[in-house]
Symmetry: C2
Subunit: 263 residues, 2 copies
């Protein structure tokens, strides 16, 4: 299980292919529908590349599909079936997407946000594995365990919820950072004054439940501060976000027995 | 400017008083309306403590008010005016709260989330300073600069927006962590699988704008994934939060020229 082909040349494919190569795997080919992207990653890895699905080699052990969810099924259908193990890396797509096209298939889902140009240390990244046979489940577990200390077998159903939780904890969180950047920019203040606070907020939940770590006017139900802050927001959508999240913080707090901290 | 009295014994007062003491300031007295809390912090600092505002000594150089916003005005009114410099530590209260009760007053606002039992390194915490005289502004700047490398003078108006931005970047962010914990718990999965993702999300914005760092289905406008994820959420309020934040991510993305990363 040493020869690997990547279908996709995006952020995840870039980071994962480089890491696998560093761990002794031979990346034999990169496919991307954009020949520019295929070439960039192919040259980075010193391997062949193509933008033509019919030219994907059939001699690899592992085919890693890391393309947009909407493109995955189409990519699968246009590659000739072979004896390799085909896996995808998507959070919300069931393992059955490979049926009945190919005999050996699975999922290799790393729970992380990837950038093309920011190297990620895979050691602590959780990998969630699925396969349609015990033998391939073991093969995938071995591969993932070579690059990460945190490998688990889960169902497609559970994976959907992990992806959903990740959207809240990563994508939506990042958007809150973007909103706060905008609010500061409008006052001529730089975003970086928030970085120690952002780091401490992330640090705190390493040692306690987020419900116990909750601080701020909403959890204290300090209506005076909340009304004043709402009046500072001119954008109706931001007002709605402020109100909805504040109400939900209050609901979580009253349903829990944790004692909260204070901002 | 060495003798300090704290009015309040909460998380911020606890962390700030310990840090000032370690930097050579003499904490002479702690007030809390709860004698239990006054005693805990007083004994920690080996100083006097009281739950009676009329017993607050008048010989200190600096009086730091770190109480709930709603209690601040009342506390100020019930302490006999003296020659010390009185400051509060609140984000959303104007400096004028001290008028006309006392001659020398200001604000010492550290931008951080504090817990009683988690020590905070003040070195990088931004301090936002205000005072009603140039001399006291300099005094406060000197004190803050003894414990932090990041001290700025700002207006009460700007401070309100900093506090608002902090509510988004800290309080609301932490609540998103709480939502993701709940979603995982319902599937029998532990929250700690999200910790590497949470850390990377915080790390990314140290090097790029959050708008450029945005990943996930909403910024790709992947309606297929978004509809599937919405159908997983049973709670109507969570559905509303999901939709509002997704729409706003899309608006921010279309209004910006950044190229986004992918989750």
């Amino acid at each position: 299980m040493k020869k690997v082909i990547f279908i996709g040349a995006g952020n995840l494919a870039t980071q994962l292919s480089k890491t696998l190569q560093e761990h002794g795997y031979e990346i034999v080919q990169i496919y991307s529908r954009s020949i520019t992207n295929a070439k960039i990653l192919g040259e980075l890895l010193s391997c062949e590349y193509t933008d033509n699905l019919s030219q994907i080699k059939d001699a690899a052990d592992l085919y890693i599909f890391s393309v947009k969810d909407t493109a995955l099924q189409d990519c699968i259908r246009h590659i000739k079936p072979n004896n390799g193990l085909w896996v995808h890396t998507a959070g919300s797509i069931p393992i059955t997407v490979f049926e009945p096209h190919i005999k050996r298939y699975g999922v290799l889902y790393p729970l992380q946000t990837f950038s093309k140009n920011k190297r990620v240390d895979f050691t602590n990244i959780p990998f969630f594995i699925e396969a349609n046979s015990g033998r391939d489940l073991q093969l995938l577990t071995d591969i993932a365990s070579n690059i990460s200390q945190n490998v688990r077998t889960i169902s497609s159903e559970q994976r959907k919820y992990i992806h959903l939780a990740a959207v809240f904890a990563c994508n939506f969180t990042n958007h809150l950072y973007a909103i706060s950047e905008k609010l500061l920019q409008e006052q001529g203040l730089p975003f970086d004054i928030l970085l120690p606070l952002i780091q401490e907020t992330a640090d705190k939940v390493k040692g306690m439940s987020p419900v116990a770590a909750q601080t701020g006017p909403a959890v204290r139900y300090d209506e005076n501060v909340m009304h004043k802050q709402l009046s500072l927001l001119k954008d109706e959508r931001l007002k709605d976000i402020y109100q909805l999240l504040s109400q939900n913080i209050h609901i979580f707090a009253t349903n829990s027995s944790y004692e909260q901290d204070k901002l």
